[in-house]
């Protein structure tokens, strides 16, 4: 086995915001019944996080859990541990009707930071990215121009964007164009 390679090998662009590929992140797609206590306990046992509220990401000590739909979560764990965590999760979910799969390699992940981060995203995603509307911990499954994408905001004002690996290059170029140094809208501050 060789070193795993992410879609864009750490590409970076600096404009009104910095766009950089974040490298491989451990991700588990988990579907199940949110109302089940066993389900919530299993999520917590893997990530240390509680179940996220609708449209939010819940950070835990060991990872994070993001709300994808009424029966789907995206669990984030360290890439090197994803298979072990997945096995533990499946163990914890025994007796539950649930589906957990490793989706780490199916994704490309980017970080957008800097003053123009909100505007960079607001040019490609039909989402209210004003500071009042989109706050740290908010998670949105949406689209980035012509492809599916999801993103969330952390406490330091950095967005993490997740898309499919096959369109990683498209999304990187898209976000780079969106962050063109002379394209500030002048509406949102960091």
């Amino acid at each position: 086995m060789s070193d795993p390679v992410s879609a864009l090998n750490g590409a970076r662009f600096d404009g009104i915001a910095s766009v950089e590929e974040a490298g491989l992140c451990g991700m588990i797609t988990l579907r199940g019944d949110f109302a089940s206590a066993g389900f919530a306990a299993a999520v917590n046992s893997i990530t240390g996080a509680a179940l996220p509220e609708v449209g939010r990401i819940a950070e835990g000590t060991e990872g994070a859990a993001a709300w994808m739909s009424t029966d789907e979560l995206l669990l984030m764990v360290p890439y090197a541990e994803v298979e072990a965590r997945l096995a533990a999760l499946n163990e914890a979910l025994k007796g539950e009707h649930a589906l957990a799969v490793n989706a780490s390699d199916a994704r490309a992940v980017f970080r957008i930071s800097g003053d123009g981060a909100r505007e960079t995203l607001a040019k490609v995603a039909p989402v209210d990215l004003s500071a009042e509307a989109f706050q740290p911990g908010d998670f949105r499954r949406s689209r980035m121009a012509q492809v599916a994408g999801a993103f969330w905001l952390n406490g330091e004002g950095t967005f993490t964007v997740v898309c499919f690996r096959s369109v990683g290059e498209y999304v990187f170029k898209l976000l780079s164009a969106s962050a063109h140094p002379q394209s500030a809208v002048g509406i949102y501050k960091a």
Partner: protein, 1010 residues
């Protein structure tokens, strides 16, 4: 002559001179000029030729309603036709050319059309060019297209050099228009705490209030505008954007804003235009009003201009279109123009007020200044050709006789004001006819309705039909408060600023000047300048039976030009109403549609251009494929190698080489794009039994089964190999194109029909790089990798038999190996994590050297499967084909009570023995059948066409068999083995092919099962 005045010009900076060219001639203007004002300052009165008659045309207006001054701007990859001089801010180096003339603006050969006017009436092309029929396409149309038209289309080989972008924004209240009404409405809305966005199309705020005068809160309007703008700008909940026009209002409070970022400063860098895609809870349209022309003969002679626009040129840019000006009006506002001209030192030779009693205070003021005012008088005719020279005066209430002729070089006309109701109307806001002001104004009781059944647009100020400064501000303040309240904010009344201006006498509708103008005059009285529609054209249409305003519009082309009838609509429908002996409100308006004013095609596309025009999906091996000769083929958004072409080799050669090498040695296929869906749950087996035509629930763990999927109408929609992973988990392979759609198909059935079944589906297509290792040496290369890694998965026939799968390590990589074959050869499809796909591929390529490894592309994949008689979704199927057509009855379970498609297969047409069925086709001479060719039957059908009895679905040259092979659907095909049928090609040849078994190679399947 038109010239720059010594004083005036509040928007220009006389210290900054700017050079530009018009039709190659060097001219100068000032910073703050529009192209239009700069042309006037350079005495360029004539700016183009008209559409049909090629008449000389000059500037009529000063804003976006301008119909004549359309220019071709820039050159090369920044060339753009049909740009309005009035909305083009002047910049250094601007190069403009006038349009629609040949050979040049001053001398235009096609002005002969002017003399042929009586043959070019409304609908002339419907009448004149009927016969002979063929002449339309080959003679008339090309000539008409060449003679009528606007600017030249950009060269098809050039690409727009600029970039564009979109921006999504959300607001409680969007205020359209930054005039005094818009600012007042924004202030009222913002006071409630609502998030307010104000869009102003110009580079300056306040609209036309500074030009029109009066006082606001005791100050000059300009002072109030700047104070209010600054107040709003300082508020956190308010966003102000200038150079940003709201171009359309759409359902559910969607507004498009067209922001022009660098048009005034090219070379600044960054996007040229930005399209604001705005969601608003409420929209205030403070879009002002547009002045109407008067319909008199020669009202299109350069130098005839809207009165308020002429005032704009004087006050805003310090230019006057003429030194000796005649003013014609039916209302008091035009007197302001006379006063401004007088103040600027121009000679206002006459004010012709069509009203018998004239106007109010403003008329008195004009008289006091010594301006000659005549009431009940009108313009009979303006003459002069390329510039106003003479104005013939007559009684308004007459036919145009008893004329007095006076000399003048410009005419200011005012036929009253029409509120800009476009944005109010885009989503269905209704209008009322206001008889006193002779215009349509929004009916507040019938606004466009949102999803909650309540109105989401509020009109404000002049756009709501208020024409005096005081009422405008009161109306706008109320509109702003209402919008905020309707957006869910507590009602808050904000005192409107106090606007005071002159008391005006009532206007009087004048639709034709003089009122009973004879036909000679009516044929020279223009309604629609841009499309050359005259009063006589609309009257003719009415006489010919066009009663609906929408029909008349299309017959005469009234209001169909790029200005969308901003000036002509009301005048035109008033003439129509009069001709029909009807009332204006009964005739009604045509439909208002976005955009309000043309927006660039570039901004609609936004960032989608060049390498982000469309997403390209790339597998982990994409770069390797690309550097190793891949001839790319688009498969959905994916790119897959059609073949790997070596240096000096044709694509066809490459394919033949790949086919033979895979059969004889070892081939590698990047199969990563195949869909992979995990289906899990206690009801997963039952669910898959419904999805597939064959039985999946009985599949043993560790085994694979080929499955077919039908739509509920029985048509074959997808196929693929299904693997049983554990007790309640299956992995379903789909076609490349089916990954997302079959995922959606499964979710749809689970969510809408079998919502109580315990099944989850996840699409893991992109988690894996999948590589098909194919050929007699397939096992050897993998075992070599395992040996090198010190062990790995047992890949022997016994440990991993055909149609089974195993998890384990191959060459040290985490792998899942499927013993499946789409080629008929010994074959392993191996899935590894995508992040290791390229490394694994490289490892096989390296280890495979001694075994003759070569990558192969999709064409070889197709040929290999066709040699084996395997069907391909999309080739043998086209949405009308059922499994039975393809002799796949074996895959239709008889044990299952139901599956999708089962009931549909019982329909009589599906069970019809005459359905075309799959067979192999072998040309008699070994050539390759044309793809899609039809087989001829006996006789002809009811349409006189030859009957057909089949068609080619797949056809290739088989390097293995050294001949053409094909599959096709043929009527009674399987019963006609050995028969020869004929296929006419589109190349003029006729092909003869023998019907054979579709399996051309290794009929017993021995090679794949070793």
């Amino acid at each position: 002559m038109s010239t720059r005045l010594a004083k005036q010009g509040r928007l220009i900076d006389r210290n900054k001179q700017i050079e530009f060219t018009f039709n190659g001639k060097r001219m100068t203007g000032y910073a703050g000029d529009t192209l239009a004002s700069a042309l006037l300052a350079n005495d360029q009165m004539m700016v183009g030729r008209s559409f049909k008659y090629h008449r000389p045309r000059g500037l009529v207006a000063a804003g976006s309603e301008e119909p004549n001054a359309l220019m071709q701007l820039g050159s090369g990859d920044r060339y753009e036709p049909n740009q309005r001089a009035t909305t083009t801010e002047l910049f250094s180096g601007l190069s403009a050319k006038s349009q629609n003339h040949w050979p040049n603006l001053e001398f235009d050969v096609l002005a002969i059309n002017n003399k042929l006017g009586r043959f070019l009436t409304a609908g002339f092309y419907y009448k004149m060019f009927m016969y002979p029929r063929a002449a339309w396409k080959h003679v008339y149309e090309p000539i008409i297209r060449a003679s009528a038209g606007l600017g030249k289309a950009p060269d098809k080989e050039t690409k727009d050099a600029d970039t564009y972008e979109h921006f999504y924004f959300f607001a409680d209240v969007v205020v359209v228009g930054g005039g005094v009404a818009g600012l007042q409405a924004a202030k009222a809305a913002a006071a409630s705490g609502a998030k307010v966005l104000v869009l102003e199309q110009n580079a300056y705020w306040g609209g036309r209030a500074p030009v029109d005068g009066g006082t606001i809160d005791g100050e000059a309007p300009e002072a109030w505008i700047e104070k209010t703008r600054a107040e709003l700008a300082a508020m956190d909940n308010v966003t102000l954007r200038d150079r940003c026009m709201a171009s359309g209002v759409y359902d559910h409070g969607y507004v498009l804003g067209y922001e022009r970022l660098t048009d005034h400063a090219p070379g600044q860098g960054g996007p040229r235009h930005r399209l604001w895609r705005i969601r608003a809870k409420q929209i205030v349209t403070a879009t002002g009003a547009i002045e109407r022309p008067l319909s008199f003969a020669g009202n299109d002679v350069p130098g005839v201009m809207l009165a308020a626009s002429m005032r704009d040129y004087v006050v805003n840019w310090g230019v006057t279109p003429g030194r000796k000006v005649v003013v014609a009006t039916n209302n008091d506002d035009a007197y302001r123009t006379a006063l401004v001209l007088h103040e600027a030192g121009c000679d206002v030779v006459r004010i012709l007020d069509a009203r018998n009693n004239g106007g109010g205070d403003l008329m008195e003021e004009a008289r006091q200044k010594g301006i000659r005012v005549e009431c009940g008088r009108a313009i009979a005719k303006v003459s002069g050709g390329k510039r106003v020279k003479k104005v013939a005066i007559c009684a308004q209430n007459g036919t145009g006789g008893a004329q007095e002729e006076i000399e003048a070089d410009a005419v200011a006309m005012s036929g009253g004001w029409s509120p800009v109701v476009h944005l109010w109307s885009h989503c269905g806001g209704k209008l009322n006819w206001d008889d006193a002001q002779a215009h349509f104004r929004p009916d507040a009781a019938r606004p466009p309705l949102g999803d909650n059944g309540k109105g989401f647009v509020v009109a404000a100020g002049s756009a709501d039909g208020e024409m005096a400064l005081g009422p405008v501000l009161v109306n706008a303040s109320a509109a702003g408060s209402k919008a905020a309240e309707d957006a869910g904010f507590p009602a808050k009344t904000v005192a409107a600023a106090a606007g005071v201006d002159s008391v005006e006498a009532p206007m009087e509708a004048v639709w034709l000047m003089p009122a009973q103008a004879d036909i000679g005059l009516r044929m020279k009285s223009w309604l629609d300048y841009q499309n050359d529609v005259k009063v006589s054209d609309v009257q003719l249409a009415a006489r010919e039976g066009y009663e609906s305003v929408e029909h008349t519009k299309r017959y005469t082309t009234l209001g169909m030009a790029t200005d969308q009838g901003k000036l002509s609509n009301i005048n035109g429908l008033a003439i129509l109403a009069d001709s029909l002996n009807s009332e204006i409100p009964q005739v009604g308006t045509t439909t208002f549609r976005p955009p309000y004013h043309p927006i660039s095609m570039g901004v609609i596309g936004g960032e989608a251009r060049g390498d982000i025009f469309q997403p390209v999906r790339k597998t982990p091996m994409y770069e390797w494929n690309d550097t190793n000769g891949a001839d790319w083929e688009p498969v959905g958004h994916w790119r897959r190698p059609f073949a790997y072409v070596n240096k000096g080799e044709s694509v066809h050669d490459a394919v033949n080489r790949e086919v033979k090498n895979t059969r004889e040695n070892l081939g590698l296929l990047d199969a990563s794009t195949l869909g992979k869906l995990v289906v899990k749950g206690p009801d997963a087996g039952r669910f898959l039994d419904m999805m597939y035509t064959n039985m999946m629930s009985t599949l043993k763990i560790g085994k694979c089964r080929y499955g077919l999927m039908c739509s509920e109408n029985g048509f074959l929609m997808d196929d693929g190999v299904v693997a049983r992973i554990d007790e309640d988990t299956w992995l379903c392979h789909t076609t490349t194109g089916g990954a997302e759609s079959i995922h959606g198909h499964m979710e749809e059935w689970l969510q809408t029909e079998w919502w109580d079944w315990k099944v989850y589906v996840a699409n893991v297509t992109e988690q894996f790089a999948q590589i098909a290792v194919v050929g007699p040496n397939a096992r050897k290369v993998l075992e070599k990798l395992n040996t090198a890694a010190g062990g790995g998965m047992d890949l022997s026939k016994e440990a991993l038999p055909f149609m089974e799968w195993r998890d384990g390590k191959i060459g040290g990589y985490d792998a899942r190996a499927y013993r499946i074959s789409f080629s008929g050869e010994l074959s392993y499809e191996i899935a590894v994590p995508a992040s290791q796909g390229l490394a694994f591929w490289n490892a096989i390529m390296e280890a495979g050297k001694e075994f003759g490894v070569m990558p192969y592309g999709t064409e070889t994949l197709h040929i290999l499967r066709a040699e084996k008689g395997f069907i391909m979704i999309g080739d043998e199927t086209d949405g009308t084909v059922i499994p039975q057509d393809l002799n796949l009855q074996w895959a239709l379970s008889k044990k299952k009570e139901d599956y999708l498609g089962k009931r549909a297969h019982l329909r009589s047409h599906m069970a019809d023995p005459d359905r075309w069925k799959l067979v192999g086709l072998e040309t008699v001479d070994g050539s390759v059948l044309p793809d899609g060719a039809y087989a001829l039957g006996e006789g002809i059908n009811a349409n006189g066409q030859k009957n057909v009895i089949g068609r080619v679905t797949s056809t290739y040259f088989s390097a293995t068999l050294d001949r053409g092979i094909a599959m096709g659907l043929v009527k009674h095909g399987p019963d006609r083995m050995g028969e020869v049928i004929t296929f006419p090609g589109t190349d003029g040849k006729t092909y003869e092919a023998k019907i054979v078994d579709p399996v051309f190679y290794d009929k017993d399947g021995e090679k794949q099962n070793v």
